[in-house]
């Protein structure tokens, strides 16, 4: 169970972490500046297990992985959006930041609401009204990476060619 930070549409990587804070690869230091300018209350109030909910095209803009790393290190359990920008989507899967695609949640949720999420089953429960939503399923190929906890972990134990097996 966690609290929802609701953002808008087209949230870009400069909002998530401005370029001038990309001077480190330390996740904690990046988390300290996550949404630093557009929503300073985020890095102050976010707790481990909270959620980000957003509209279309979350994470658009730069390829900087500092953005999903900052979000992951700030303790966010999952980002749930209507859609994700392509590079950001890949980056999240690669580094093991859980993301979910839900057409409905954004329209029915308010900032500060509490939700419960089952990542494996793709279930989202809104606590204030007990409503349950389902997120879209990932392709097999991508599930293998997610199950390993990211592509780096996958490669520790597998050959990259194994991603293709079974598809």
């Amino acid at each position: 169970m966690g609290k929802v930070f609701r953002f808008g549409e087209d949230v870009n990587t400069d909002e998530i972490i401005p370029g001038r804070y990309n001077v480190t690869t330390d996740p904690k230091a990046l988390a300290d500046h996550c949404f630093f300018e557009v929503r300073p209350d985020f890095c102050k109030n976010v707790n481990s297990g909270d959620f980000i909910v957003a509209g279309e095209n979350f994470g658009c803009g730069s390829s900087r992985e500092h953005a999903p790393i900052a979000i992951k290190a700030s303790g966010v359990k999952a980002v749930i959006a209507k859609s994700f920008a392509r590079i950001f989507y890949r980056n999240c899967i690669n580094i093991g930041l859980p993301i979910m695609i839900s057409d409905e949640l954004y329209d029915v949720i308010e900032d500060g609401d509490e939700i419960d999420v089952n990542l494996k089953e793709g279930k989202i429960k809104i606590l204030k009204n007990g409503k349950e939503l389902r997120s879209q399923r990932f392709p097999e190929f991508i599930l293998k990476i997610i199950d390993a906890g990211g592509i780096v972990n996958f490669l520790k134990n597998h050959d990259i060619g194994e991603l293709e097996d079974g598809i």
């Binding site: 400069d14 690869t25 300018e37 279309e56 390829s63 992985e65």
Partner: protein, 412 residues
């Protein structure tokens, strides 16, 4: 058989591949820069695997070059150690990654290239499949020489007509993005064709494909032709034809540039696109001409023609950053650098310049910058209380001359 994207992946895998398939392919070139290489090295090390093939790796220092803070100097030092240790030969600090890769012959038709930079989509102007990825994906290619892709569906932009005086390919791509929207082409390959594109110089084609990402595109693509062939052959690089064959496009957009006028994308979204007239007379504090979108010789030529013999107000920050050393040399030989400096513009060393807001022209709260960049997100050039307006080099130069937004057709 298929779109340019399908053709490239089919050639690469020696079988027919179509949109929607997930494929694992050899990566011809893996590129990253000072900002994205440190995390890529971390990812490689964490896989526990050695570097797969150092000859297919290119590292460019361009984002903050030379380093402007102790932190960036320290990170760059780490990357240099990696380069020395691994014996990576393809390391450059002579301009913006996307420009340098094209000039040095890393971008060739049919190649699959990933870059730790979102504007890697630029390379499709030469019939290569280039796409931006994060640092971990760079690390994956370092470790394996391969990566996975979902072969994208294609949006086709059919562009016809000829540009009026004072109107440029940058105005066209802004117009297109304004129509399609910042997420209108998410995950799609954006193929540009039609008579306008067929007549367009290679440098201008790069301006179009560069901005495919600004509508969410996975890559921008243009079929190869005589112009591509001449460019490559004049530099001694190999050419092969990459053209669509009976393509099936998900959507076709038609544009005619006969009536196109100069355009602006105003803060804070790239798809806030309006004709320059709407904002004429608005005062600006900074004009920046450069970047991987518009820092090439064709762009500097436009500005030099307009600045010749003129004086710019020193109250305005006018910054010019050639995209590469090659562009800089050419601009010097043609006398442009002297024209710029005589006029009172500041000419900085080749690289990204103030495009990511870390040096060479950071904006203050309340500043309004008019630039030839590709992105106007809040905070990108410095203060989040500043404003970034995107335009063509001609509109930027005209604006620098007057200190306020000016339609270039009045000055040319």
């Amino acid at each position: 058989m298929g779109t340019i994207a399908e053709e490239i992946f089919s050639k690469k895998l020696s079988r027919d591949v179509s949109a929607g398939e997930i494929v694992l392919v050899d990566i011809d070139v893996t590129m990253s820069h000072d900002n994205t290489t440190p995390l890529a090295i971390k990812a490689l090390r964490n896989t526990g695997k050695p570097l797969f093939d150092k000859n297919r790796v290119v590292v460019i220092f361009d984002h903050v070059q030379p380093p402007a803070s102790v932190e960036s100097a320290t990170l760059q030092k780490e990357v240099l150690q990696f380069i020395k240790k691994e014996g990576i030969k393809n390391f450059f600090r002579e301009g913006i990654c996307h420009q340098v890769l094209v000039e040095k012959g890393f971008v060739l038709p049919g190649r699959v290239i990933i870059g730790g930079d979102s504007h890697t989509c630029t390379y499709g102007a030469l019939g290569a499949f280039g796409t931006g990825v994060g640092s971990t994906d760079i690390g994956v290619s370092y470790a394996t020489g391969k990566n996975w892709f979902r072969v994208p569906e294609t949006f086709y932009f059919d562009v016809n007509g000829s540009f009026n005086k004072g109107v440029y390919p940058k105005d066209l791509i802004l117009k297109i993005i304004g129509k399609v929207g910042a997420r209108g082409a998410t995950y799609k390959a954006c193929e540009f064709g039609g008579e306008t594109i067929e007549n367009m110089a290679l440098g201008d084609r790069l301006t179009l494909t560069n901005m495919a990402i600004e509508m969410g595109g996975k890559t921008g693509l243009i079929k190869t032709d005589k112009i591509t062939e001449n460019f490559l052959k004049s530099r001694g690089y190999p050419y092969q034809e990459i053209v669509p064959k009976d393509p099936n496009y998900e959507k076709v957009f038609e544009f005619n540039v006969d009536d196109l006028t100069p355009q602006l994308a105003v803060s804070p979204k790239v798809d806030n696109v309006y004709p320059v007239e709407k904002y004429e007379g608005t005062e600006v504090d900074e004009v920046f001409i450069g970047t991987c979108t518009n820092g090439r010789i064709e762009d500097l030529e436009i500005a030099a023609r307009m600045f010749k013999g003129k004086k710019l107000s020193p109250l305005l920050k006018t910054i010019i950053v050639p995209a590469s050393n090659e562009v800089y040399f050419e601009a010097m030989n043609r006398g442009y650098i002297k024209i710029f400096m005589d006029a009172g513009a500041m000419v900085c060393n080749p690289g990204c310049g103030p495009c990511i807001g870390r040096h060479q022209g950071v904006i203050a709260p309340g500043d309004r910058a008019l630039t030839t960049m590709n992105r106007n997100f809040v905070g990108r050039m410095g203060s989040d209380k500043g404003e970034i307006i995107i335009a063509s080099p001609a509109t930027a130069a005209a604006t620098a001359l007057n200190g306020k937004i000016t339609d270039p057709r009045e000055v040319i």
